[in-house]
Symmetry: C2
Subunit: 666 residues, 2 copies
């Protein structure tokens, strides 16, 4: 069996009794019978059974007391907004569409369970991002690329699985306002081919129907090169035969799966063929698919993760960080209106710290989505705790200076939400961290990233700590205030701690090759992946200013100037942008080398403190969660020790500069 994470109504043992009157009767006002409304109704009843031991009666007239799901007349709510308010002994959930009712219902229940609902409550919520999405890297054989929570719950033995867990998963993500999910791995040819073939299409439809009951649209990853294996024997986007093949394929797929949201595509990336193979542009490729899917209202989400993965480490001029902008920038304005570019938060690949991709604000007339990774590929494999929401907040708040209009929100959040250009396609997507482990996310605390991503993609103004506390209250529903404080401190400190004991000052990539867990300072230094630190006896860092690779020039002013000069570059990104001597003095008054030593010793100490804090919770939270997580903290502390000692020893052995505090370095 598996847990229900933050949706376990059976564990409530406080706060909720004052709401019992609402859970007597449900009245649906103005909506026709609909599977989505039924889902909402069922959820309220499930909650009532868990909290009060009985189902809710459904009434056909307005009750004196109870919950009212009401079709709103307020057009400004849009397709996904809702209003929650109380009137006397009635609580109202109002919306224009059944999907929005789902979101309102889950929110209403969260307010109840956290004791935040009262007679004065009157909340209107409209999601900020049109698309709020999760990408699964699940393969047909049941493995998950970069999965740290067990195998796939979508696939097994090259077949599609549909069972109770499918529905439970849809419910979990719908409760956060997630409205799109791509279930198969975009990085693997077979996974991205099989599902649109007749063998599996009926199961895909069933899956799509289950998600639809929760207001979630199913997306599929698509193998751009698929027609090469069929009659066209080509994937040239301007070849009439290829165009006709795709039109026919889309017709076939939508005939079987009418609710499909669209497709996620990665082309010309890491060895996969794409438009470049035929001398065409990325826009040619994306638009060809977009036209084929247009009759069905579908969209094409096109990944921008294109770079030369056969780089020569000797070459100091080629810079992988520049590749995304170089390949896509000049195509600004050429993409169809049902194409969205899916852009990783940084120019490299989900490191614990990177600058924001210059494509945000660099392309001014193109639909864009922000892609982050809550699968902890480079942030501790869901062994180490690393609550990423504070990091995502910084990314969203980054000012791109896309235009000079003071009214326009040109932060990343403003751009991907569509606000900056007043368009309605855009959003946020996370490579997700779920699998068929009992607790869904490997580490119980990693569920805070799933929860947090969902909440943040709905409303980017929410605070990281606010989200953390909400998640704790819903997950550890019997936790007292001190317990909540302890877990909050662990979560809020976890990303800064992880950054301290791993790669310093934005340099990244000091991980074991392939696996990406644990330290190997030179692991990628002499390899073909474009991920270097260039450390020598004098200093460390990649010179990406105007005198270096020129990467800093891809930003709009004044970011361009800020990143171009080591004096104004934010120090947490100093080594990303500039080759810097070990003896360079930071604003703290410390040298770079002393900063490396200090942060690594601190990070290791902080990991031990987190472990001790967790140990203090024994007997105060669910035993399974406590023990599972305790086991992981033991591994995290061992990992932090390896990182601390290996990074410090590596640099000490390289520069010969002793630690000022005389601590043990090997």
């Amino acid at each position: 069996m598996w847990t229900q994470c933050w949706l376990d109504y059976n564990n409530e043992n406080k706060n909720v009794s004052s709401y019992e009157d609402y859970f007597t009767t449900l009245f649906v006002d103005g909506f026709k019978k609909d599977e989505v409304i039924t889902t909402a109704s069922d959820e309220l009843s499930l909650a009532s059974k868990g909290m009060f031991g009985r189902a809710i009666d459904v009434d056909i007239a307005l009750p004196d007391k109870g919950i009212v799901i009401k079709k709103s007349e307020e057009r400004t709510l849009g397709k996904e907004g809702y209003r929650i308010y109380c009137e006397g002994s009635r609580a109202y959930i109002e919306a224009l569409t059944p999907e929005a009712v789902i979101y309102g219902t889950f929110r209403f229940l969260a307010l109840v369970r956290t004791g935040a609902l009262n007679g004065d409550t009157d909340i209107t919520e409209i999601p900020e991002n049109p698309i709020r999405m999760l990408d699964h890297w699940d393969n047909m054989d049941g493995s998950i690329e970069r999965g740290y929570s067990g195998n796939s719950f979508f696939f097994e033995n090259n077949d599609v699985i549909i069972n109770d867990r499918t529905r439970d998963y849809a419910r979990l993500i719908a409760s956060l306002g997630i409205n799109a999910v791509a279930i198969n791995n975009v990085n693997v040819k077979d996974a991205a081919t099989d599902l649109v073939n007749p063998r599996f299409i009926d199961k895909v439809r069933q899956m799509s129907d289950i998600f639809a009951c929760f207001g979630v649209k199913l997306f599929l990853s698509l193998n751009y090169a698929m027609p090469i294996e069929y009659e066209p024997q080509s994937a040239d986007p301007l070849d009439e035969k290829v165009i006709a093949w795709w039109k026919n394929k889309m017709k076939e797929v939508y005939a079987s799966v009418p609710k499909l949201g669209g497709f996620l595509v990665k082309a010309d990336s890491e060895g996969r063929p794409g438009p470049f193979t035929y001398g065409r542009t990325q826009a040619d490729g994306a638009n060809m698919l977009a036209e084929a899917i247009r009759p069905y209202g579908g969209i094409i989400i096109w990944r921008c993760f294109v770079y030369n993965c056969q780089q020569d480490w000797r070459d100091l001029t080629t810079d992988r960080a520049k590749a995304g902008y170089d390949y896509f920038h000049s195509l600004d304005g050429e993409f169809d209106d049902n194409v969205i570019l899916q852009i990783k938060n940084g120019p490299m690949d989900f490191q614990p710290r990177e600058p924001v991709s210059p494509l945000f604000g660099g392309m001014k007339n193109t639909n864009q989505m922000l892609e982050v990774q809550i699968a902890q590929e480079y942030t501790g494999h869901q062994i180490d705790v690393c609550y990423l929401i504070p990091w995502f907040k910084q990314i969203l708040e980054f000012e791109t200076y896309m235009n000079d209009d003071p009214e326009s929100d040109t932060t990343v959040a403003g751009i991907v939400s569509g606000r900056a250009r007043n368009v309605s396609l855009g959003g946020m997507v996370a490579v997700t961290n779920t699998g068929n482990d009992e607790n869904w996310t490997g580490n119980d605390l990693a569920a805070a990233n799933l929860y947090g991503f969902g909440r943040l993609s709905w409303n980017t103004k929410l605070g990281a700590e606010e989200i953390a506390r909400e998640w704790i209250r819903l997950t550890f529903s019997d936790a007292d205030g001190e317990t909540e404080d302890i877990i909050t401190r662990i979560l809020m400190g976890s990303w800064p701690t992880y950054e301290k004991y791993t790669a310093p000052l934005g340099i990244g990539w000091m991980v074991k090759p392939h696996d990406h867990y644990g330290p190997s300072v030179d692991g990628y230094e002499y390899d073909r992946w474009g991920t270097y630190h260039r450390a020598d006896w004098e200093g460390i860092g990649v010179e990406r200013g105007p005198e270096g690779t020129g990467y800093s020039l891809q930003y709009n002013s004044p970011n361009k100037e800020m990143f171009g000069d080591p004096k104004t570059t934010p120090e947490e990104l100093l080594l990303f942008f500039h080759k810097t001597p070990y003896k360079h003095i930071l604003k703290s008054g410390k040298t770079v080398i002393q900063h490396i030593y200090d942060t690594h010793f601190e990070g290791y100490e902080e990991a031990k403190k987190m472990q001790a804090a967790w140990d203090s919770l024994e007997g105060r939270i669910d035993e399974r969660a406590f023990k599972e997580t305790r086991r992981r903290f033991e591994l995290q502390v061992a990992n932090a020790r390896e990182w601390c000692d290996i990074v410090n020893s590596y640099f000490y052995r390289k520069c010969g500069i002793a630690d000022e505090k005389g601590r043990k370095i090997y």
Copy 2:
């Protein structure tokens, strides 16, 4: 199909016509009808067909001209010696046993094919080593651990394969005088368990019979911990139930496979259980098995590859190099007389350069075998050419000073042959380099290592170049003298070149973890395997002298003193024994760092020269072999460039000392 390597009689096109008269008639004098004699007779006929287009007539009386296989009366030939001589128009192969006739027959054919036989020929050959063995690391699923020549030809899909290739393989190795082969992987539990179980035992017998026709004894790797999974539920060597279980198992196995030579065992190594698990000694474990197998004349070959593979890299006192001696030395004299310790050539693990293991000469009353590896795990994966026979010669010639008797040959060769102690058990074994590739060994030139090991284990006095030329003449039988010279130069230079472009001055281990092909200077530096270089800004090397780990003290005097002092340590092993400053002046007048730069640039240049030399052979040798090998030379040159640039850049970035010649370092 597959090639016949150095036994392809169809390609002869020179030299042999003068021998045609011998190949008219065969007379077997004094031997009864025997499957081994039949094998010899068949081989002579096969050769005759290939060289002269017709079979040999078998006569029942002494012919006027022809070949005579004669039972000798010369006791000094022993079980395996033979005499080859010519008398008038007759050539004689004389021996005491059928097995020796096989060796003599193959030798006779080699003399014919290389034009070395003449009327004055009178050769008596007695093998130096009682056991001349090949160990296969083949797994039941068909994979080969550290195999670089395709999959196994013994196993596939968890079953045993017996086909024409089995016989061709037996013939190939018998032609070298190999008399023992262990077909299954000693490192893997399942491989070392399955074959003694009823499911496979009949196929093992068939395999054993095929080898027996060529005078080769089949050995099996055994899982020491096997009885844990049966009724005894223990592997304690002093437990009566365990002893009884093994006695019964051996009885069962020998009832089915009476010709079995014995077993190869690895215990207490790299995570496998063994006698230590029960607080017993390695001798307790080996002797228990030896007693069980004694009634059948079998022997137990016990590997000494025991060390702590969970070492902390921070720990400067533990030294993996010391482990073998520490575990086994005190057990000297305690092993049964049908036990042989199989000792790797060096104290670490088959690096391109290591000192000789101090167990040779350190254990004075124990049967010992020398284990080398012709599978090129650390020497280029049969992509890079690395003819290892010059290296094996150095190992065999190493003087151990085991005793003070000036008459006693206490070199490694003297010890493992049994001469030093006048015992009859000992020998040489190679982890082999064969697989089901068309040419058996991946790189055609790697067959020279298989050939060379076989010949050297028969007679350690043969020269490395002598063996190389013999192999070339038999393999490229149409090669002219210049071609032979070119290939000889390639082979003879290949190991020195490989050593130059890889790890300098005996330090070893700068390879990519797990895979072991290509450079990663820090790849094992901060890991648990005990394989460190300890390089910092001032110098490099592991201090193993008396002031360091004390490893040098494991040798007998005067080796102990020689290795203990950096002034007298042979420079090719300097960094193995001593932490040495980069500015230390070598005998060449160069500093250590300049030596590193120079040898790496030279090694890369030499690789390119070898490639050019090979390219010059186009049209002069077999086209398949030429092209296959040319493809590998391209990969070798790319590999040599990576090694050269990465090692040089690594050390330059660490010490900041420029190359005196101003060459490009990154």
